[in-house]
Amino acid sequence: MTEEPSEIISKYYHALYNGDLSAVKDLMTEKSYMMTLESFGLRLSFRDGEFKSLLKEIEDSPESLEKVESLLSQEIISRNKAPKIKITKCEPNGSERETVYYTEDGKVKKLYFSKEDSGWKINYYAGRPIPQSYFSSIKKWLISILPSF
């Protein structure tokens, strides 16, 4: 059964802060996963030149990717974070994308999702608003006025 984006967010945070990057990888598009490693690896890369070099190679070298995942997993666990996630709104963006609004320890955030072959995935590039077609605008309007009949 396909998981909804709002369910994926809780899984994502749980996996991330438990250092389970292979689970995180399954929840995201490949490009977004690489960006997550780069973003979360930033602190470590400023402290460790070797890690910084490895991080630059993750898209081309499976060995570097594996080492980065292992080192970063330990570093994220050491942050000892377990943020409270509260979903506030889910908003479709066209038929293949969705934006989920939520709070992370009270801080307002949002994540974008795109529908891939294997189901919904977190996709940082899926935030661009998709213009609605004339047909879908009419359909949305009809649905909105139906209860008044």
Binding site: M35, F40, L42, F46, Y124, Y125, A126, G127, P131
Partner: protein, 195 residues
């Protein structure tokens, strides 16, 4: 209220920049050139993936500017942040021009909100880069190097791998050239600060 304060702060910082010296002229000249290119008309249609990339790069340019604004306030005697921040504003304008030209809705992005990002990954970058840059001037300059290398990598990917039409490539090449100039400036400032 906050928005107005931010705008005033930015204006104040930008005004200060105008007296920062002739070196800044060279730094942002390439991006002015880039912005000018966006006014050409085109009939080319972009794919959804290409549009996503334009939208992303627009926001990535904002990341660079916002980090430099924040670090510039922390280290007001270091003119590199001030001069490059102004150049980054031209980069944002050039990237915004491309978005508008290709009908990409950027209304969700509020340029005036310094340090606030639509994309969570960019917000994470901003928070961590500012935290890192707050450690010392040298760390802040290292952050500048990191950002410029990130920009150069992403622009190179966009130029070489995504099949963009010539007008987009032309703008991105100019942005990349600007980033190389910024990188050189940061490395020069690191040499001076380390001596």
């Amino acid at each position: 209220m906050n928005k107005s304060t931010n705008q005033n702060e930015r204006r104040g910082f930008l005004s200060k920049m105008l007296v920062a010296g002739a070196s800044s002229v060279a730094l942002f000249s390439s991006s002015v050139h880039a912005a000018g290119r966006t006014s050409r008309s085109t009939t080319t249609k972009l794919t959804a993936k290409q549009k996503d990339e334009l939208f992303f790069i627009y926001q990535e340019e904002k990341l660079a500017r916002d980090v430099y604004i924040t670090l510039g306030k922390l280290y007001p005697k270091e003119n590199t942040f001030a001069s490059i921040q102004l150049s980054e504003q031209r980069h944002i304008d050039a990237a915004q021009g491309l978005c508008e030209k290709y009908g990409i809705d950027i209304s969700e992005v509020n340029e005036d909100e310094v340090g606030n990002f639509v994309l969570p990954v960019l917000q994470g970058y901003y928070d961590d880069l500012v935290e890192q840059g707050s450690e010392s001037l040298l760390d802040a300059l290292d952050v500048g190097v990191f950002i410029e290398e990130l920009d150069i990598g992403d622009l190179t990917h966009a130029i070489e791998d995504l099949g963009f039409p010539a007008d987009v490539i032309s703008v991105y090449e100019n942005l990349r050239e600007g980033s190389y100039n910024h990188l050189e400036s940061f490395n020069g400032a690191i040499t001076i600060a380390s001596s």
